[in-house]
């Protein structure tokens, strides 16, 4: 456990316990407590990472490996956006309001645990906590779609947990320890790696299922579409990234893909990543539901991260981490916007919407910023992360992957252009008549996230310096 960051795990957990008591007589207390907890944590983290002396020193003094800190900050940021949005989104009469916020905070605490732990057993525990909270969160509004989504999530991700625990058991038997460090040292030695790679492959497979990489992607669209609107932003924005993709990146570095160990695993991972990019993007073209399209878009974008993680060179890991952060920002914007649309019009069916740009200009423009970043249009943040990934692929001689990954950006752009045309341009439809922009508090999180997208793009040198430190520490 990275003890320096332990407080970021414990405090939300504590708040989660307090909330049901505090909110017994005054339900609003739940909102306030959750938001204050996350805001305080985020402010703290930002000071830790972005204080002027740290930037001036090129982030050389960042505590730990830097990656945990960065991801905890991302978890808090997305968590805060979701809780703030929820405070104004959920109806007054929602019976389990305190439970909802408690679950969100437990989920944040579990994610913090996932990214700060240094051994596989703790990782497994937090992954399971996260899975249970997500499962409960999906059903917040107890509609039949929510139940269906939750069940699909359950049936597909719990077998994944079985794979992970079996893999961990074999690892324990062969390696005698479950700490990351031991696996790293073992892979660095010349010992024959057979059983250890097999165990790692099982664990990796479990996390591949949990990230929703093709061909194990079928649960994500249903879960995201069925989930309660802010929850889908939480799930797509950060939960699947932390519970799946982060672990894949971590394993890729521990297995030393960069110096050619576990070659077969590395190649398989890259192939699945490329497949995800292609299948996700092409499937997104055909969707008519906004949230479903976003879910397929997530599958496609996760493909980029997995592709880079599978390559595993320092540059690729930098690209993967950068893209993970970017994906958290732009997907949160798009999912929260879909929630706003749902609130204003009662539907996320793109064929029933139209001409929203004048009635909801902020939603329209923040969507444009987020979609351009997703499609990798410069100078937004998504461009730089994709560029790093593609340069890494090219550098390692994988030119076909590089060109394909680049050209699939055009498909990404195409489905988003169709979305923008159907939802925001064109004629008003019956569903979008007399619609008004959602209130300012609901817009604040998306505007903040859009600003981050633009800022990360323009301040790329600083962010690059940071992820460079991260890559140096986790790979060497």
């Amino acid at each position: 456990m990275d003890k320096g960051l332990l407080a970021y795990l414990l405090i939300p957990l504590l708040s989660a316990v307090i909330i049901p008591f505090a909110a017994r007589t005054r339900p609003k207390m739940a909102d306030i407590l959750a938001n204050v907890t996350l805001l305080a944590g985020l402010a703290n983290l930002l000071w830790l990472a972005l204080r002027p002396s740290m930037i001036a020193g090129g982030f050389a003094d960042i505590p730990g490996d830097g990656l945990s800190l960065l991801l905890v900050a991302a978890v808090y940021l997305v968590g805060l956006c979701v809780t703030f949005f929820s405070a104004y989104f959920i109806e007054e009469g929602l019976p389990n309001r305190p439970a909802y916020y408690s679950l969100l905070l437990v989920s944040v605490a579990a994610m913090t645990g996932v990214v700060t732990t240094t051994d596989f057993f703790t990782l497994y525990v937090f992954i399971e906590v996260l899975a249970v909270t997500s499962f409960a969160l999906i059903t917040t509004d107890d509609s039949s779609a929510g139940i269906e989504g939750a069940l699909k999530y359950f049936f597909l991700t719990f077998p994944a947990s079985v794979l992970i625990i079996v893999g961990i058991a074999i690892l324990m038997m062969t390696l005698g320890s479950l700490s990351y460090e031991n696996l790293r040292l073992f892979m660095a030695s010349d010992a024959p790696a057979g059983p250890v790679t097999f165990a790692s492959a099982l664990i990796m497979l479990g996390f591949i299922v949990k990230s929703g990489v093709v061909p194990f992607h079928t649960w994500t669209p249903d879960a995201y579409q069925g989930a309660y609107a802010p929850v889908s932003a939480h799930l797509a924005g950060i939960v699947t990234k932390i519970s799946g993709v982060y672990a894949i990146i971590k394993l890729a570095t521990l297995l030393r893909f960069f110096d050619g160990r576990a070659q077969a695993l590395s190649e398989m991972l890259m192939f699945l990543g490329m497949l995800s990019i292609a299948v996700g993007a092409l499937a997104a073209l055909k969707q008519t539901n906004f949230k479903r399209m976003l879910a397929f878009s997530s599958i496609s974008q996760i493909g980029y991260i997995v592709l880079a993680a599978g390559l595993g060179t320092p540059l690729a890991i930098m690209g993967a981490v950068f893209h993970l952060i970017n994906h958290a920002t732009f997907k949160t914007v798009l999912f929260l916007n879909s929630a706003s649309l749902e609130k204003s019009t009662g539907t996320t069916d793109m064929d029933k919407l139209g001409g929203m740009e004048h009635s909801m200009p902020w939603t329209s423009w923040t969507s444009i910023v987020a979609l351009l970043s997703t499609a990798g249009v410069p100078p937004l943040s998504g461009f730089w992360s994709k560029l790093l990934i593609i340069l890494a692929l090219w550098e390692s001689g994988l030119r076909v992957y590089a060109v394909l990954a680049l050209l699939f950006s055009i498909v990404t752009l195409a489905y988003f252009m169709m979305m923008q045309k159907k939802v925001f341009f064109g004629k008003k439809t019956p569903a979008s008549e007399r619609v008004q922009e959602v209130s300012a508090p609901l817009l604040a999180p998306v505007v903040l996230m859009s600003a981050i997208i633009v800022a990360l793009g323009l301040l790329f040198p600083y962010f690059y310096a940071y992820v460079k430190v991260v890559a140096e520490r986790i790979i060497l």
Binding site: L372, V403, K421, G426
Partner: protein, 479 residues
């Protein structure tokens, strides 16, 4: 920091960042917003033109903003970039002035002004950028602005055409990025100054060419340009005549003309592609009946002549092609803006429903005629000299089939423009609407462009001396 470097930075930064202040200016009042937009346009032009003296004196100015991995943002003023920036900014400023009346009764005006200025700023960035990666960055930004501008009217048809525009050009740009990555790994740098005189591989050149052809709407990527004519005439003249499509030819001049030595056979292939493009689009211009589509086809055809000059591989043709960029920008912008006046007052874009409009809009008619003559290449208009230089250079190159294709293209230019003028202004009145002359600023804008075209012909010594000096100083591998 020296004054020229400050001017260089402001020429890019002021329009790029100013564009985002236009919505704020719009909160104050509509006239404030309009005045602010026009001021941004004029300021950009003066900033770019102020560098002219420096570069003619044989100096250059550069400014670098460090980015990791050799992705530095480098702004560099040399003869070519200042030449291109001044033309683009000048035409954009005229278009902004013309817009004041033209779009005053449509929706989304604030977005329109913001996007035109953002487009202008991205164009400045692209032209002044001496790093291939940043050329790409600004390239995509112009694509974004043109997406919003082509989709200015928000019907399904308009937005679909806008999407087509951005998808075709972004596809090309991504291919170009592949080429840029190849160069990055071959030479370890993207700084065009350091790459001067290097050889370029076929593959990298081919990928970059795809990007150039798609942006310049040359075969086989030409179809988006006529379709994009659904946009307001100001937009079409900005994007399709004067500025956006010139990005492709500028990039060709910059990358294959003054930086890399293009591989053998590559230029010949470009000549044949351009020849086919000139013929096919001129043929389309002869039979179409939509005034803006005809002018758009004519643009595709004329761009091919610029490629002819750039790819012919000798100094006369290269200098002629640069001159051609100038003449064509002025004249074609004039034609599109005239089309805007005609369309707004005759309430149709179908030339079969027009006719006899000369009596009701004589000034527009005169401007249209003057601009047409320049595009045709009739002496003493500026267009004559550029076309003459391009042809004489191409003749020196001695590729007879290509020369014949372009001669046919030039004759067809004459035919379709005469047909267009006759159908619109002469003949029996079509009796459509109640045509009248456009507003004062609109007519003044088109007349100014027409007269500048004439003046450039009369004073041809100065621009041609400039382009010849440019070719001598910067050209690579030219005979």
């Amino acid at each position: 920091m020296d004054l020229p470097i400050q001017m260089l930075i402001t020429a890019v930064a002021v329009p790029v960042f100013g564009a985002f202040l236009i919505p704020i200016a719009a909160k104050v009042s509509v006239p404030t917003r309009n005045a602010f937009a026009v001021l941004l346009g004029l300021f950009t032009f003066f900033a770019a033109a102020s560098l002219m003296k420096l570069v003619v004196g044989g100096q250059t100015a550069s400014w670098t903003l460090a980015f990791p991995r050799g992705f530095d943002l480098i702004l560099h003023a040399d003869m070519l970039s200042v030449f291109m920036a001044s033309i683009s900014a000048f035409v954009s400023a005229i278009i902004l002035i013309y817009s004041l009346d033209y779009i005053s009764h449509y929706d989304n005006q604030t977005e329109y002004y913001a996007m035109v200025v953002l487009f202008l700023g991205s164009m400045m960035g692209l032209v002044f950028s001496a790093s291939l990666l940043w050329m790409y960055v600004f390239w995509e930004m112009t694509g974004f602005a043109s997406w919003r501008l082509v989709g200015f009217f928000r019907s399904d048809k308009d937005v679909a055409k806008a999407n087509k525009t951005i998808l075709v050009t972004v596809f090309g740009a991504l291919c170009m990025l592949v080429g840029i990555i190849m160069i990055y790994f071959d030479y370890g740098t993207l700084d065009l100054r350091a790459l001067h005189g290097q050889a370029i591989s076929y593959a990298a050149a081919g990928f970059i060419l795809v990007g150039i052809l798609s942006k310049s709407a040359t075969l086989p990527f030409s179809t988006w340009l006529p379709d994009a004519g659904v946009a307001p005439s100001t937009v079409t003249s900005l994007l399709h005549a004067a500025v956006l499509v010139k990005i492709g030819v500028y990039a060709y001049a910059r990358i294959f003309g003054v930086t890399f030595a293009a591989p053998d056979g590559f230029s010949t292939a470009v000549l044949y592609i351009a020849g086919a493009s000139a013929l096919v689009s001129a043929g389309a211009a002869l039979i179409d009946t939509d005034i803006k589509r005809i002018i758009a086809y004519s643009t595709i055809s004329q761009l091919a002549f610029i490629f002819l000059g750039l790819a012919s591989g000798n100094k006369t043709a290269f200098a002629g092609a640069l001159l051609y960029i100038l003449m064509h920008s002025i004249a074609k912008a004039g034609l599109f803006l005239c089309a805007g006046i005609i369309e707004q007052n005759a309430h149709t874009k179908d030339i079969n429903q027009m006719g006899g409009l000369f009596s009701s809009m004589p000034v527009t008619g005169a401007a249209f005629a003057l601009c047409s003559l320049s595009v045709m290449g009739i002496p003493p208009f500026g267009g004559f000299f550029s076309k003459f230089m391009v042809f004489s250079g191409a003749a020196q190159n001695g590729n007879l089939p290509v020369l014949l294709m372009f001669l046919a293209g030039a004759v067809m230019t004459l035919l379709y423009l005469v047909r267009l003028f006759y159908k619109i202004f002469l003949g029996e009145p079509g009796g459509h609407g109640n045509p009248k002359e456009g507003s004062y600023t609109m007519v003044a804008s088109v007349m100014a462009l027409a007269l500048i075209g004439l003046a450039l012909g009369a004073l041809i010594y100065y621009p041609s001396a400039y382009t010849e000096l440019l070719t001598n100083n910067l050209g690579v591998n030219l005979q």
